[in-house]
Symmetry: C2
Subunit: 340 residues, 2 copies
């Protein structure tokens, strides 16, 4: 007898039935995405996946014992207990680019390969940063709210005035894949690009975006928009707080689609309240899913719930990449996205 | 004695005092923009301008009698009565690209030159269309609202899922200046461009945006996003109604930053209510400033109050262009933006 509720799509069902007769390798997938997200694994693997949501830690520990592969979501903690229970475990294929959810040190000691999925996050995250910039400069959120309240909106050519992105300076903190994807968009909007990175980009890349490398101080003082696209590290923790916000133009906007704790969130809320800067667009929070209570009351900030990669296409592309990493590992290829 | 409340900036004040002693030509400006918006005219003209808002029709008729130039806002009706009262009138410099506010036929009969300001509207209008596309695909307005309501938002990787613009097809109806400015942005977001125009674009322009010329029917059926960037004419009135909306993909979004009556607004509201299409971003309305009551109740539409050109920069650029048209006319130049 088999548990049909671990099955997701018709393709998977077919291969699941096959697996009853032929002993297949098993992959434990911690979380449900879409019905067909992991179909490409079903030919070679018996797939253990929850009907919806995520497996609990206890469920993972129970089910992992005879699995060769764990396909884990970046939001699910994969600690020593789980890894230790995976007696046959050869690989952890992480769904997501960040992999600080995994006890990498212990997995590596055990000789378990870990991979991640860097490519699919680039475009949607840059797109979200750009979306927040646009919504801020043209007051989209505020105007849509007010227009639905009778007699609230004033119409007329000197009413509801915003600013344009065209001709403004975008300062990018962390000009890697996502930062460059944002720069490409901003160039098409005729913005000027300045950036700061640990390592300066090569000349060709700078030329492509007409991007100028500047010090952090110059970035803070010269930018009309600042977008954070840096990884979260000890160095970037609280990179932006009261002091840096005070250096920014009072007309400037701050965008964070990277990690919450790169900004001191309460100091940002205070700066917004006191109009030290014009506004902010925030996707990530210091104590997610909690948000600083002051921030929630302000109308010069746009807040969204960590949706940088939250698109149907990205969720599917990431599932494909996490699955392909597994197939490539078993095919003995070397060009999959191994991180340890 | 002179009326100081017709004065706006220090520069203008200085030249106004000069004008008391030296008889200067007069320009009647129908509406206040910013204090310094028309400074470039003050050296050559005595400027008659309201302290705030707009002159009434009666005020215009009274004040225009000894003016050589009328600088009119595109939102202010300049009818036969006003033009007839302008006995010395040589030029109407319209602030805005559309000039259907002016009785062009009568002005032309009187030998009065009319000019407009096409350039400044291009970038901000395309920017707004792009802003609406971004806000729609990532549910920015809805999420910002819900995140501020305690316990309303669900966090998690399968929550708050949007779609990406990247890889989608943008159908542009009317691929002139504004349409092409939007295409330039969309290409940088890796969208595919199709368009329909009265006249097909030349090969070089098509190649620039990798834009494919298609029939209206194909545009409706193939687009993931449709942006209207066509002028309002007898031909484009109610170009989109129930029939065309039914041809669109149920996942598609419609954007209108052109003129309200190009869409049958109530039929759009019904289509949105019945999920015939996924959503819409609307800046202009059929009976502006009135909005179809059904439309105001829907959460799959983003509504803004005709802000295509409502940015500080555009308001100033337009004032400069309307002023420059006047200076160029008096300098005997031929390359200003004459429309009659």
């Amino acid at each position: 007898m088999f548990i049909i509720n671990t099955i997701t799509s018709q393709t998977t069902t077919f291969y699941y039935i096959v697996s009853i007769f032929i002993k297949m390798k098993k992959v434990l997938i911690t979380s449900k995405v879409y019905d067909d997200s992991f179909d490409m694994l079903s030919k070679d693997f018996e797939i253990i996946i929850p009907e919806s949501g995520n497996f609990s830690k206890e469920e993972m520990i129970e089910k992992i014992s005879d699995c060769e592969v764990l396909l884990s979501m970046f939001t699910i903690k994969i600690d020593r207990d789980i890894i230790a229970a995976g007696k046959k475990l050869k690989m952890i294929s992480n769904y997501g680019v960040g992999f600080n959810n995994i006890d990498v040190k212990y997995a590596t000691e055990r000789g378990i390969v870990i991979s991640n999925t860097p490519d699919p996050v680039t475009e949607p995250t840059a797109e979200l940063a750009f979306a927040l910039m646009h919504a801020l400069c043209r007051h989209i959120v505020e105007l849509d709210k007010d227009i639905r309240i009778p007699n609230k909106i004033k119409w007329g050519i000197m009413q509801n005035i915003g600013t344009t992105l065209t001709g403004k300076t975008l300062g990018i903190i962390g000009c890697g894949r996502i930062g460059q994807s944002l720069a490409r968009r901003a160039v098409a909007s005729k913005m000027d690009i300045i950036y700061h990175n640990r390592h300066r980009l090569d000349q060709n890349t700078e030329n492509k975006y007409n991007a100028k490398y500047v010090s952090m101080d110059e970035l803070f003082t010269s930018s009309d928009y600042i977008s954070i696209n840096a990884p979260f590290t000890d160095e970037t923790r609280h990179l932006i707080g009261r002091k840096e916000l005070a250096m920014m133009k009072s007309s400037a906007y701050l965008i964070n689609t990277a990690r919450g704790a790169i900004i001191n969130e309460h100091e940002l809320a205070e700066a917004l309240k006191n109009k030290i800067i014009a506004g902010a667009g925030i996707d990530v929070y210091e104590h997610e899913p909690c948000i600083d209570p002051l921030l929630l009351t302000l109308d010069n900030v746009i807040l969204v719930p960590h949706i940088g990669t939250a698109t149907y296409e990205t969720r599917q592309d990431t599932a494909i990449m996490a699955s392909q990493n597994i197939l490539d590992f078993y095919a003995g290829k070397s060009n999959y996205h191994r991180v340890n």
